[in-house]
């Protein structure tokens, strides 16, 4: 009597084993596909969020030697003799708004006690990095424009 293939012999490929793998494989592939597309579905492609580039007014709206907090844009605008610059108010620790401490000449975060110096460098508390500096530019209407997607270093000044 010829030996019957029961499919339990896994040492050599058989039709049964091939079909079994094909079945299990398509099962895994199908569920993998469903899982991946579901995950992708959860990541929106179009966001209705505030613009990341916006005008904040003319340079002369900002008095010399001033530190102005613009709440809508969540940033500070400083005017110094050598030019204007913008520092983000978003704490690099967990995203609270930092406050300008005029006495000390630095920033304090109300949530977890981080503090930063006048250039936004983290000097105490849990914040892991300095506050971001945003690029400032002038548009055709002589309005200053902030681009929060464009970071600049702390030597940046907008000359007017």
């Amino acid at each position: 009597m010829p030996e019957r293939n029961t499919g339990s012999d896994t040492s050599r490929p058989t039709r049964r084993r091939f079909l079994e793998l094909l079945g299990k494989g398509s099962f895994v592939a199908a569920f993998g596909g469903i899982f991946t597309t579901t995950m992708r579905f959860l990541m929106p492609n179009v966001l209705y969020e505030p613009p990341t580039t916006f005008a904040i007014g003319e340079p002369d709206d900002f008095a010399p030697e001033s530190a102005t907090f613009l709440e809508d844009g969540r940033l500070f605008v400083f005017r110094r003799p050598e030019g204007l610059f913008a520092i983000s108010s978003i704490c690099t620790h967990l995203g609270c708004n930092v406050r300008w401490n005029a006495e000390r000449g630095g920033f304090d975060c109300p949530c977890h006690g981080s503090s930063f110096d006048k250039n936004g460098k983290n000097i105490a508390g849990p914040a892991p990095s300095p506050l971001k500096w945003y690029e400032l530019s002038l548009n055709a209407d002589r309005q200053m424009v902030v681009n929060t997607r464009k970071e600049v270093d702390k030597n940046f000044r907008l000359q007017v």
């Binding site: 967990l94 995203g95 109300p110 508390g125």
Partner: protein, 415 residues
């Protein structure tokens, strides 16, 4: 008048219609005290008989049952609140104001929902402590401890997602901080934050996501986990208890000599084991149900009383421009916030992750299998001290975060 009423009650309960509802007779014999449990879908979560040790109040303090009761209260009050609440950034805060000020009994319902949620966090944690300190997670109950850890995480997740819904200042900034914490997780952190918020900032996308998690995803997960949790309690022969002494031999039940229960895969062996250690088992109907009813009445009354006298807080409308100082999370997260104040990565990601992994591993590491079902056994001094220190340090962190932290998270004294 009285004989008339009694006659009608007797006629009604003897009728075919009544008998089709309730398949047991008047509950005045042990047979009917058993049938009332097995023939009622709600009661049959219970076994017909329970161990005398496990219905002692001071063994469990009813903490697991209380957690379940609070969950039911939260489901009911939550469904009612959902008739008025609108998950939109422009309407959410106003609908909460409406619930508080113009909807009949709205404020008390919202208060009950809030205080039951806080209560459930407390009872779930205390239930975990009870299970640890009585060594109730010992073999064969290891996996039910694991399910319990996931139930704890679901409870915390429900609390956290519920916090955003009123769209007030506390909600907005608690969620800003909480989701920023997620972004510190290695590799996938930013992606997790993006998916949680449905974008880059806390806005409409985040509100609707938290609403769906709070009202559908997490309650569904909770109900599934609860089903497994309760089912395993039954499969493991009821809740834990001390080693039984007495008459171990089974009184072989020969009511159905033709059936082999072992073959039917109901219980191992040839007979049913209901009459093992008969002196240790009592009827559920007479020894557990009354206690549960009493505990339910007291808990609901207490919750109502608290909700009449204490209002759930509602701060000003969420303002992305102004961070309140100090910005505090709900109290059960203040221990975490205190840790996060030292380091977001260590305090907000690594320590919580290690804590959860540690909790999950407990029943597989702590396996000496002695003194099960005994509170604070001297033979389990070392594990009890370690777990006790863990609970105390969590509590201390929460107390520090709640009372000893002021503006800019600087140290203050509450007096």
């Amino acid at each position: 008048m009285k004989p008339f009423l009694e006659t009608w009650v007797r006629r009604l309960t003897a009728g075919r219609v009544w008998k089709s509802f309730f398949r047991h007779g008047p509950v005045n014999t042990d047979l009917n005290r058993s049938l009332v449990i097995t023939s009622n879908v709600a009661l049959h979560l219970h076994p017909v008989k329970v161990r005398r040790d496990s219905v002692r109040f001071w063994y469990t303090i009813g903490l697991g049952g209380l957690s379940f009761l609070l969950f039911l209260v939260l489901v009911i009050t939550g469904i009612l609140l959902a008739f008025y609440y609108v998950p939109s950034t422009t309407l959410a805060y106003r609908s909460i104001k409406d619930i508080d000020n113009v909807v009949s009994y709205g404020r008390i319902l919202r208060n009950m929902h809030r205080w039951a949620a806080h209560g459930m966090v407390i009872t779930v944690v205390l239930h975990m402590c009870r299970v640890f300190f009585t060594y109730a997670f010992a073999n064969p109950r290891e996996f039910n401890w694991v399910i319990g850890v996931f139930l704890l995480l679901s409870t915390i997740g429900l609390s956290f997602t519920g916090y955003l819904l009123p769209w007030d200042q506390l909600a907005y900034w608690a969620i800003t901080v909480g989701t920023s914490m997620a972004s510190y997780a290695p590799v996938v952190g930013e992606k997790i934050r993006y998916v949680l918020l449905g974008g880059n900032v806390v806005g409409q996308g985040a509100l609707i996501r938290f609403y769906v998690l709070h009202c559908f995803v997490l309650p569904a997960a909770m109900i599934g986990l609860l089903a497994v949790h309760f089912w395993r309690v039954r499969k493991d022969g009821g809740i834990s208890g001390p080693q039984l002494v007495g008459t171990p031999e089974r009184e072989t039940v020969t009511a159905f000599p033709s059936k082999s229960y072992g073959l039917m895969a109901i219980v191992p062996g040839q007979d049913i084991t209901a009459e093992r250690y008969p002196e240790h088992y009592v009827l559920t109907w007479t020894h557990l149900i009354p206690k549960e009813v009493l505990a339910t009445i007291i808990a609901i009354a207490a919750l109502n009383l608290v909700s009449v006298f204490f209002n759930a807080p509602l701060e000003e409308l969420a303002d992305p421009r102004v961070t309140p100082n100090p910005a505090k999370a709900p109290w059960y997260f203040l221990g975490l916030q205190e840790l996060v104040h030292y380091s977001a990565l260590v305090g907000g990601v690594l320590l919580p992750a290690l804590t959860v992994i540690g909790l999950l591993c407990i029943p597989y590491l702590d396996t000496r299998r002695e003194a099960t079902g005994v509170w604070l056994s001297r033979r389990r001094l070392v594990p009890n001290v370690i777990f006790g220190l863990f609970v105390v340090s969590m509590t201390v962190l929460i107390i520090v975060g709640t009372f000893f932290r002021g503006a800019n998270w600087a140290f203050v004294t509450p007096w």
